[in-house]
C-alpha cells in the first residue's frame, strides 16, 4: 500500500469514529431507539390507530414470545462475526500473497 493510501485510510477510519460517536455525545440522554420502530409509530399516527401486524415472525411463534434482548444481540453479533471472519480471512491471504510476490520479485533482481 502506498503511503498516501495508508494515511487516507487512517483519516477515513477516524472519520467513521467521529461520525458514530458524535451523535452520542451531542445528544446526551437521547433514546437511540430503532428507526424501524419510529416507522411503525408513524404508521399509527397516520392511520390513527395502533396497527395490528397480521403476521408475527416465525421465530417468535416458535418461542411463544419475543426473543430476549440479550439473545437478539447475540444473533446480531453472530451476523457481524460471520462477515468480519470472511473479510479478514480473504484480506489476510491477499496481503500475504502480495508480500510474497514482492519478496520474489526482489530476489529475481538480485
Amino acid at each position: 500500500m502506498t503511503r498516501k493510501n495508508k494515511s487516507l485510510l487512517i483519516v477515513l477510519l477516524l472519520l467513521c469514529v467521529v461520525l458514530v460517536a458524535g451523535p452520542v455525545f451531542a445528544l446526551r440522554g437521547a433514546e437511540f431507539g430503532g428507526s424501524d420502530d419510529a416507522g411503525s409509530i408513524k404508521v399509527a399516527e397516520i392511520t390513527g390507530e395502533d396497527y395490528e401486524p397480521w403476521f408475527t415472525p416465525v421465530f417468535e411463534q416458535l418461542l411463544g414470545g419475543e426473543l430476549p434482548g440479550e439473545l437478539e444481540s447475540l444473533l446480531f453479533c453472530v451476523q457481524t462475526g460471520i462477515g468480519v471472519g470472511v473479510i479478514a480471512f480473504f484480506l489476510g491471504r491477499f496481503v500475504e500473497r502480495k508480500k510474497q510476490e514482492t519478496a520474489r520479485g526482489q530476489e529475481k533482481e538480485k
Binding site: 500500500m1 445528544l27 404508521v43 401486524p53 471472519g85
Partner: protein, 247 residues
C-alpha cells in the same frame, strides 16, 4: 446469459409488470406483518426478475473466472457486517446501513440482489428484523433499488471522469440513502395519509427516515472507500477477474 436464461428473466419481468401498475413503493426493513398481503405479493413479484437475473449473473461471473468467488464472498460479508451494526444518528434514533454499494460497483447491481436477499432472510428469520411477509418489499428497496442507483451513479461518475474514490463514495452513500427513500414510499403507498394521500404520508415517512439515514449514508460511503482502497492495494488480480479493473 444464455437464451433460455434470458427468456426466464423476461417472463418474470413481464409478470411483474402485469401484476401491477407498479406503484413506486418498496421499503427497507418494513416489519413483519406491516404491509397488506396483496402488497407483499406485489413487491415479491417485482423483485423476482432481479433475483433471477442476479443468480445468472453470479453464475456467469464464476464460470468466467473462478477467482471472482473470493470477491463475491467478501462483498456478501461486507453486507453482513454493515447491516448488522446499528448506528446512532443525529436524530436521536438508530438505524443501520445497507452495504450493498460495494457489491454493486464490483459486480453490477443484479448480482448484489442475491447477496442482499441472503442477509434479509437471515435477519427476518432469526432476528425478527424485517420479516418474511415483507421480504419482497425489503428486497426491492435494499437489494434492487439501492444497488441499481449505486451502480448508475458509479457509471455516471466514470463517464464524467470523476476521481475513482469519490465516485465510489457517492455511489455507496446515495444508494444507501435511496434505499430508505424507497422504503418511505413503500410505506406511504400502504398507508396513505387521510389528509395528504400517498404523497402526504410519503413526506411524513421521509421525515422519519431521511434525517436519520443521512449521516449513516456518509458513513457507508466512507467505509466502502476504505474497503476499496484495501482491495485496490492487495487484490488487483481479483478486481481484474471481475472486470472492475483493466488487467
Amino acid at each position: 446469459m444464455t437464451g433460455k436464461q434470458r427468456k426466464l428473466v423476461r417472463i418474470t419481468a413481464c409478470a411483474a409488470l402485469l401484476g401491477c401498475v407498479l406503484p413506486t413503493a418498496g421499503a427497507m426493513h418494513i416489519m413483519e406483518g406491516f404491509l397488506p398481503p396483496a402488497m407483499c405479493v406485489l413487491w415479491g413479484v417485482a423483485a423476482l426478475p432481479f433475483l433471477l437475473a442476479g443468480y445468472f449473473s453470479l453464475q456467469r461471473a464464476v464460470v468466467r473466472d473462478r477467482r471472482s468467488v473470493t470477491l463475491i464472498a467478501m462483498a456478501g460479508a461486507f453486507i453482513f457486517v454493515i447491516s448488522s451494526l446499528k448506528i446512532p444518528s443525529v436524530t436521536g434514533s438508530c438505524s443501520h446501513m445497507t452495504g450493498t454499494g460495494l457489491g454493486a460497483i464490483l459486480f453490477g447491481p443484479s448480482a448484489v440482489s442475491i447477496l442482499g436477499v441472503i442477509v434479509l432472510l437471515f435477519q427476518a428469520i432469526l432476528l425478527a428484523h424485517g420479516g418474511l411477509t415483507t421480504l419482497g418489499a425489503n428486497t426491492f428497496s435494499m437489494a434492487v433499488a439501492g444497488p441499481f442507483v449505486s451502480f448508475g451513479i458509479y457509471k455516471l461518475c466514470q463517464k464524467l471522469r470523476v476521481n475513482k474514490m469519490v465516485s465510489v463514495f457517492l455511489a455507496a452513500a446515495l444508494g444507501d440513502l435511496l434505499t430508505y427513500c424507497v422504503t418511505s414510499l413503500q410505506l406511504a403507498v400502504a398507508y396513505p395519509s387521510v389528509v395528504g394521500g400517498v404523497s402526504g404520508s410519503a413526506v411524513e415517512f421521509l421525515g422519519v427516515f431521511a434525517p436519520t439515514q443521512l449521516p449513516l449514508a456518509i458513513l457507508e460511503g466512507v467505509l466502502t472507500v476504505a474497503v476499496m482502497i484495501m482491495l485496490e492495494s492487495y487484490a488487483r488480480p481479483e478486481l481484474c477477474a471481475v472486470g472492475f479493473e483493466e488487467g
